[in-house]
């Protein structure tokens, strides 16, 4: 398994190179001038030009790329134009929020998505199923920011139960209690994805239920709940595991919006703000890290897949 993982990681290199080139090109084709943004509205063109030169942004693009890539390979993602700090530390600042948000979102997805999906499938065709799967689809149809705005309005402004926005680090005063700042955002982020998992668990279970081996299990005289958990859910999990990689990508996308709505100091908002500020090194760094993360998660999903399904062997 370890050897397989190593080989897969090595196989990622060309993909990553292609992705890095793409990231770099995309980012540098964006019109706009970081020097101008940095100097503010009253700066003169001469000043802007001087700063541009100082920041090395006037070199030919391929040289800038090679230079950047060389540094990336040495673990240096460059220096944020806007913050003047190393990109890695800027990203690290946002990482706590984003990682905790992701974890809490996953918790929501699992505690909402899986049980509702299972119940929906085992009570297929009943009103419980119809409400659950219809409701899931409804939630998947709601724009994230709209849901977020209304949740703030209800739970923060009207009821005053939960904080509306921001997130002080858990190392700050308040400690773990600061996680309550992430309750609404993580729910917002989880809703459409939990909906996806509900429907996926349900569909996979219904598919598995039709398989011959489930008939065998029932012919053994197993109680329905045993058939549902041991034979149907266990096998359905294989398809669900595959969806988690997909969910991660969706999560990152929606985190961009959610972090903006809730003003969370996370990586998603960082990337949006950096695009607006033309902070090239940060945009490149964040996207590159997300791409790497995505690939690693897909690898983990594949490993989970092999672990769940003995027919898949990793050689």
């Amino acid at each position: 398994m370890l050897g397989y993982a190593t080989r897969r990681l090595l196989a990622l290199i060309p993909t990553l190179l292609a992705a890095s080139l793409l990231v770099f090109l995309f980012v540098h084709l964006i019109p706009g001038d970081p020097a101008a943004v940095l100097l503010g509205d009253t700066a003169t063109p001469e000043e802007v030009e001087a700063l541009t030169r100082e920041m090395g942004l006037n070199a030919p693009l391929y040289l800038q790329y090679l230079y950047w890539l060389g540094n990336v390979l040495q673990g240096d993602l460059g220096t944020s134009i806007f913050f003047g700090a190393p990109v890695l530390s800027v990203i690290a600042d946002g990482a706590e929020t984003s990682i905790l948000l992701a974890v809490m979102t996953m918790v929501w997805i699992v505690i909402l998505g899986v049980p509702i999906g299972v119940v929906s499938a085992t009570r297929h065709g009943t009103w419980v199923d119809q409400v659950a799967s219809g409701g899931a689809m409804l939630f998947a149809s709601v724009p994230t920011f709209w849901l977020g705005l209304y949740l703030i309005l209800i739970f923060s402004v009207s009821l005053g139960w939960l904080p509306s926005s921001g997130y002080p680090s858990i190392s700050d005063d308040g400690g773990l209690a600061n996680l309550r700042y992430l309750l609404l955002p993580s729910f917002t982020l989880a809703a459409p994805n939990a909906a996806l998992i509900i429907r996926l668990v349900r569909a996979s279970m219904l598919d598995v239920q039709r398989e011959d081996h489930v008939r065998t299990a029932r012919a053994k005289g197993l109680a329905p709940w045993k058939v549902a958990t041991k034979h149907v859910f266990r096998n359905a999990l294989i398809a669900v595991a595959a969806a988690f990689g997909f969910t991660f990508a969706a999560l990152v996308s929606e985190a961009v919006v959610t972090e903006t709505v809730f003003s969370l100091p996370g990586i998603g908002r960082l990337v949006v703000q950096s695009i607006l500020r033309r902070d090239y090194p940060v945009i490149q760094g964040v996207i590159l890290i997300i791409v790497v993360l995505y690939m690693v998660i897909n690898l983990l999903v594949d490993l989970a897949y092999a672990w769940l399904d003995p027919r898949v062997s990793l050689k």
């Binding site: 397989y4 897969r8 594949d302 897949y305 092999a306 027919r311 898949v312 062997s313 990793l314 050689k315």
Partner: protein
Amino acid sequence: MTTDAERPLLRVRDLKTHFTLKSGSLFGGSKKLLKAVDGVSFDLAAGEVLGIVGESGCGKSTVGRTLTRLEDATGGTAEFDGREMLSLSKAAFRPLRREIQMIFQDPFASLNPRLTIEQTLAEPVRIHGLETTREGIRARIARTLTQVGLDPKVMSRHPHEFSGGQRQRIGIARVMIVEPKLVIADEAVSALDVSIQAQVLNLIKDLQKESGISMLFISHDLGVVRHICDRVAVMYLGRIVETAPKATLFSAPSHPYTRLLLASIPRIRPGRIPAEDRGEPASAAAPPPGCPFHPRCPIATDICRSERPQPVDLGNGQFSACHHAGKQQGEAA
């Protein structure tokens, strides 16, 4: 191996079709070689029906698919009408497709569900330029449909509107409409119910007799093969182990595998001597050394375990790839 001096329509020599299997199925990793067909030789005379029988995985279907160029041969030659055809480029082979046709096993899967019968049948006619006008094509389709026992009016329908037997008739029509010289029938009736199977078998037999087409009839069902073929080749793990005229094969099988096969078929009329439990065939991906049948063979000796037997001519058109062929003649059931 020809039965007369005449040149055979199809002469296959040392045909090999190997597949590389990616082990571990989902992701790359080590590659394995599957020798689906591994040195098959036979002749097929004009107007002759040669049966190829064997159990699943013996490579009989691959022989058919290789000869229609649906799979690429790894080695060997196949002369069709005196012309080597395996080395032809796909483009150069295309005109030959008219002459070499195939009937597929599954009548549900072999018709494009989105096309009407007319569209399906018109395609080969148009491609090979047999008719040029729309009327000409329709007339030809109508003629062929009648030939296979279907009402020409059905040509505007889609496959799902037909029963299995009718669909197989359409499959046969698609083959017959181009008037081929060689038809390869791959398990042409095994998906059909018994009563329908008999109808289709009769049809195939009639059409073959009328038009004098040569046919390679691939099947796992010895009863069917006996009914329709002139000669039978028995395959085991990628090789032909025995070839003989029908009567000889069923009355005096020479190869222990052929004997096992015959003894295993459950009979309606009592009287069969049940076969011994001789285990299951090895995987074609890891065939045993020497004679591939030796682990299951009741008469295997040391030579069988080390040396691959070559076909031995037993006279009367019977060939057997067995080290002990001829010696056991007397014991044949």
